[in-house]
């Protein structure tokens, strides 16, 4: 095993390493951020587990009053919330953030500072939510927060606000990870690693990331609307004002069902990674599995209504969603049989990770079968909202996520510690957890079939539920003991584990070509990868990488550099220079946390100030980019073949913008969905007699916007051709047109005769106007800053990158403006006259 030259190693560490001491908080490195995500997630897992123990204690025996109903309601709401939003998703994001760059043979993710921002948003948001529990004012309406139980009238305390604001704050981290992982996987794979040579885990993570991009916006919109209703009285979910409480359920489950697969897919990715390694054979049916992943992703967006079979939905719709729900069994079965076939043709090495994979199979298949049962509508009418559903969802989530995660933990432990886990303690941990889990939840199916509804803090004796509940509680405590053993095992292994040899499991993927524990830069030189199993086909890779035999081995320029390749064929396109350690993400997240807290305590002036500070910090952060002296100023020592990405017209920033706009468009579509839903379904929806917005000024406003966008896009076209005459004047003119347009929009808004607290119609219009205003304002400010950058020489024909990134945002702003005019104004007018 060759170690890199110590001088080289030190030089790379100087550029790529974290700062010492407190400076580590400014770290942006994906290995550090990934570990922080996972560590924080495990902390929240223990909190959620503790809550579960309290719940099981309360209902172990009938008619107990250890915990009153108020506290009990807070406990189960927080248990679900913590496990879903603060454990399951962040831990998997953390795993992906840690693993993906190593697996695709690069040194970091493409937006490292965004990773850091995401982490801090997650940490602060999580702590804010958790604090409510200690203050005794935690949300208590169940983790899916059905209105009107969660509305101001029936939940007057701040509990729901903690949930809505805290979760939205945490979602920033999920969106950040989703966007960043998508772009990294598509644009920074090792040269030669075409999509079909990508490790299967990356396919799963790509699907997860895209599902986050499309799945989270409906929840974010729902949370914003509900918070507006609670804080300002806009009646989106109140029948009296023309709203509808069922709109919340649609928005929530539009997110909530894909979310199950957002959790399941990465976990299945772990299984698909481990099985070939322990069978020592390539995965059978790689293409089938890729297909299955994509089908799962698509179908999962068409299932949300199966959570709502008992609200009185038309029969035909129920039959459709029932069939669609069952269809999701097909891609899952494809994966299960591909895994089976791989094991069948390989000679399996039985080890601790494989034991967890086996546990996964047993538990998950059970959960899948009860899932098919639940998809059957008449059966669902019977057991919906009983303990049967509780048992089912724990089989799917614990089986489908926790068991594979533990398999992955034991598999990758040597990677992050450089030591091997023990066998004995680990086995005990597995069996206790496995037995405890099944005792708890297998019996719970029966309790549910015997008619015990979920979320009751107590029950009468003699219903046939007593013994089962007691056994379930005992099982719960056995499972906790198992988890305690696992934690003990992991902690001890850091101290007493045998040092791990390089690539201890003889794996095929590139993460095992790094040092263990990994260095900050992963690979001293970046290899070309021409095979799906690099370490099996070229076992000398770790040595040649460390010896500097491949690309990007120069570090004298002091930049963090990685290869940028094209999305499908991974042909080398550019050298991406990444930003280094920075305080901006932490400071921005702190400012956003102040916004969140001041909204919670309803101190709106403070919220406005904090919002202004956060905006300022984010813009200041964006300033250190491209040719800025702190990033990559124009100089002699820069590569030309391939060039630095900020000298091109197509870099990761453009892709980041495109994916962000996809998420943004999903948010907008959710708003359109709400609009049409309320219009057509809400029982007391009313259109005002006359449209409250003045059409003529609005058209003028839109023409100004169209002029700005036309000018901007002509300017970018000329930049693409290498012409930058009048660049400063043009940019400034676009900014000026943007100012005029935004001012006109504010004028229309101010002159509008809106009664948003009385009519859901006007409330939706108001949200739409704020949405337009946000986009117009942001595009204008960004263009103004660009004009300034032209003046400073950061933007020119040699540096055409940044306008290329901003252009899609302008186009999007124009698109939503006219679409909004058509849908929110012209359509109701046409309807009214007809």
């Amino acid at each position: 095993m060759t170690e890199p030259d110590p001088n080289q190693h030190r030089a790379f560490e100087r550029v790529w390493g974290n700062r010492p001491g407190w400076g580590a908080l400014a770290a942006v490195n994906h290995t550090s951020i990934g570990l922080r995500f996972m560590g924080t997630g495990i902390f929240f897992f223990l909190v959620g587990g503790l809550l579960a123990m309290l719940i099981r204690t309360q209902i172990a025996l009938p008619e107990q009053e250890i915990i009153g109903p108020e506290t009990y309601n807070q406990l189960f709401t927080m248990h679900g919330t913590v496990m879903m939003f603060l454990f399951a998703i962040p831990v998997l994001e953390g795993l992906a953030i840690y693993m993906i760059p190593k697996m695709i043979g690069t040194r970091d993710l493409v937006f490292p500072r965004i990773s850091s921002l995401g982490y801090y948003c997650y940490l602060f948001g999580g702590l804010i939510i958790l604090s409510s529990l200690f203050l005794g004012i935690a949300p208590n309406s169940g983790w899916f927060m059905y209105t009107p139980l969660s509305s101001a009238e029936y939940a007057p305390g701040p509990g729901s606000d903690f949930w809505l604001l805290g979760i939205t704050f945490v979602e920033i981290s999920a969106m950040a990870a989703g966007i960043e992982l998508t772009v990294s996987i598509l644009r920074s794979r090792a040269p030669g690693m075409t999509l079909s040579k990508m490790p299967i885990f990356c396919w799963y993570i790509l699907a997860m990331a895209l599902m986050i991009v499309f799945g989270f916006p409906p929840l974010i919109l729902g949370s914003i609307l509900l918070e507006l209703e609670r804080a300002a009285g806009l009646p989106f979910f109140q029948v009296a004002g023309g709203g509808d409480p069922l709109l919340w359920q649609h928005l929530f489950w539009l997110f909530g069902h894909p979310e199950v697969y957002i959790i399941f897919l990465p976990a299945a990715g772990i299984v698909s990674t481990l099985i070939p390694v322990f069978a020592q054979r390539p995965l059978v049916g790689y293409r089938w599995i890729v297909l299955a992943i994509m089908i799962t992703g698509f179908i999962s967006f068409g299932l949300w209504v199966h959570h709502m079979f008992t609200v009185g939905i038309p029969q035909l719709a129920q039959a459709f969603f029932s069939a669609a729900s069952m269809l999701v069994a097909v891609p899952t079965a494809i994966q299960v049989f591909a895994w089976l076939a791989t094991l069948w043709v390989g000679k399996v090495i039985f080890s601790l990770p494989m034991l967890w994979v086996f546990g996964f199979l047993v538990v998950f298949v059970c959960g899948g079968l009860t899932g098919v049962m639940l998809a059957l509508v008449p059966f669902n009418w019977q057991v919906h909202d009983t303990h049967f559903v509780v048992a089912h969802l724990h089989y799917v989530l614990v089986g489908g996520m926790f068991f594979p995660l533990m398999a992955g933990l034991y598999y990758w432990l040597p990677h992050l510690s450089g030591r091997m886990p023990s066998r004995n303690l680990g086995n005990w941990g597995f069996w206790l957890t496995f037995i405890g889990f099944n005792v708890t939840f297998l019996l719970m199916h029966l309790t549910g079939l015997l008619g015990m509804p979920r979320r009751v803090y107590t029950y009468e004796s003699g219903m046939g539920w007593d013994g089962l509940n007691l056994l379930s509680s005992v099982g719960g405590f056995i499972m906790s003991a198992g988890i305690a053993l696992i934690i003990l095992d992991v902690v001890l292994h850091f101290r007493f584990g045998k040092p791990a040899p390089r690539n201890p499991w003889n794996a095929d993927t590139l993460e095992w070509a790094t040092r263990t524990p990994p260095s900050s830069y992963n690979f001293l030189s970046q290899p070309r990868i021409e095979t799906r199993h690099p370490l099996w086909d070229r076992p000398d890779l770790p040595d040649t990488i460390a010896a500097g035999a491949h690309g990007l081995r120069d570090i004298g320029h002091g930049r963090r550099e990685i290869y940028g390749t094209d999305a499908v064929h991974a042909r080398l396109k550019e050298v991406i220079h990444l930003p280094t350690n920075s305080w901006w993400p932490l400071l921005s997240a702190l400012a956003l946390a102040v916004v969140c807290i001041s909204l919670l305590i309803r101190t709106y002036p403070l919220a406005l100030v904090a919002l202004a500070v956060a905006t300022g910090l984010l813009l200041r952060w964006s300033w250190e980019n491209g040719a800025h002296p702190k990033a990559a100023p124009l100089g002699l020592q820069e590569p030309t073949d391939p060039p630095l990405h900020s000298r091109t017209c197509d870099g990761p920033g453009l892709w980041g913008m495109a994916v962000t706009l996809l998420a943004d468009a999903t948010l907008y579509l959710s708003l359109l969905f709400s609009w049409f839903y309320l219009w057509t379904v809400s029982p007391e929806w009313r259109l005002p007699e006359e449209t409250p917005l003045a059409l003529a000024p609005l058209v003028l406003c839109g023409l100004l916007l169209a002029a700005a966008v036309a000018l901007y896009s002509r300017m970018t076209q000329r930049l693409r051709l290498g012409q930058d005459r009048n660049l400063l004047a043009n940019t400034a003119l676009v900014a000026l047109l943007g100012v005029l347009h935004t001012a006109a929009l504010i004028g229309v808004f101010a002159g509008a005769d809106l009664r948003p607290t009385e009519l859901a119609h006007d409330a939706v219009l108001m949200v739409m106007l704020f949405y337009l205003l946000f986009h117009s304002g942001l595009a204008t400010v960004a263009t103004g800053l660009q004009a300034w950058r032209v003046k400073l020489g950061y933007l020119s024909a040699r540096l055409p990158y940044e306008p290329m990134v901003l252009k899609p945002f302008w186009m999007y702003t124009l698109g939503i403006f006219w679409l909004s005019v058509a849908v929110f104004l012209l359509l109701p007018m046409a309807w009214g006259s007809a």
Binding site: P69, E70, N73, S141, Y146, P148, L149, E153, Y154, V239, D244, P245, L246, V284, G285, W288, A292, T310, V311, G312, Q315, Q318, A319, S322, A323, M326, A329, V330, A333, I334, V336, F337, A338, L340, A341, L343, W344, V345, K347, M354, L361, V365, C366, L369, V372, L376, V377, P378, F379, N380, W381, Q382, H384, D385, T386, G451, P453, V456, T458, E684
Partner: protein, 184 residues
């Protein structure tokens, strides 16, 4: 199915395949994935739906053969059930009385949040939604007292929001009805 799958998996983990050519692997892959990954789940789904959809239809509040179903209005509130027999001057709390072998339509509404009306031994559950009326069909074939409860979490009193449905033979039901009207 479940046991078969686990047994197959266990066997796959234990067996030593010896040397296997690429060609054999490909044939195995196609056979297993087509049979297990496509045919098995699609066949099961078709079977379940073929049985399930008609079963679901039978539970719907379609007009019964002989005239209209009897109607009882139930308004859920935090935390109880207000029961009204339209045009009969009967109002009850947390209890329903129905004749046996007679289809009864329960018209469900709510005074506040979402609740769910559920008598496990008589029918599936149906939610009460603000601004809407949902209709649930009940039909008891045997006389007796059936326990019902709220199935959608609705706040502090949720655990204690239960009610009873008493099914009487038709003649006794008539007696009960006359008595109840007289009491009002």
């Amino acid at each position: 199915m479940f046991v078969g799958l686990i047994a197959l998996w266990w066997q796959a983990m234990r067996r030593d395949p010896g040397e296997i050519s690429q060609e054999q692997v490909r044939r195995l892959q196609n056979r297993w994935i087509l049979a297990g990954g496509l045919a098995l789940p699609l066949g099961s789904i078709a079977l379940i739906l073929a049985l399930g959809i008609p079963a679901g239809r039978n539970m719907l509040p379609l007009p019964p053969a002989g005239g209209d179903a009897m109607v009882i209005e139930v308004k859920a509130y935090q935390w109880g059930w207000r029961v009204t027999y339209p045009d009969q001057d009967i109002e009850l709390t947390d209890e329903l009385h129905i004749p046996t072998d007679t289809p009864v339509d329960i018209h469900l509404t709510t005074a506040d949040v979402i609740h769910s009306f559920w008598v496990p031994r008589l029918a599936g559950k149906l939610d009460t939604i603000p601004g809407r009326t949902n209709v649930l069909r009940l039909e008891a074939s045997r006389p007796g007292e059936y326990r019902g409860q709220c199935a959608e979490f609705c706040g502090i009193g949720h655990a204690h929001m239960s009610f009873t449905v008493t099914a009487h033979p038709p003649e006794e039901y008539e007696k009960w009805r006359e008595k109840a009207q007289a009491d009002d």
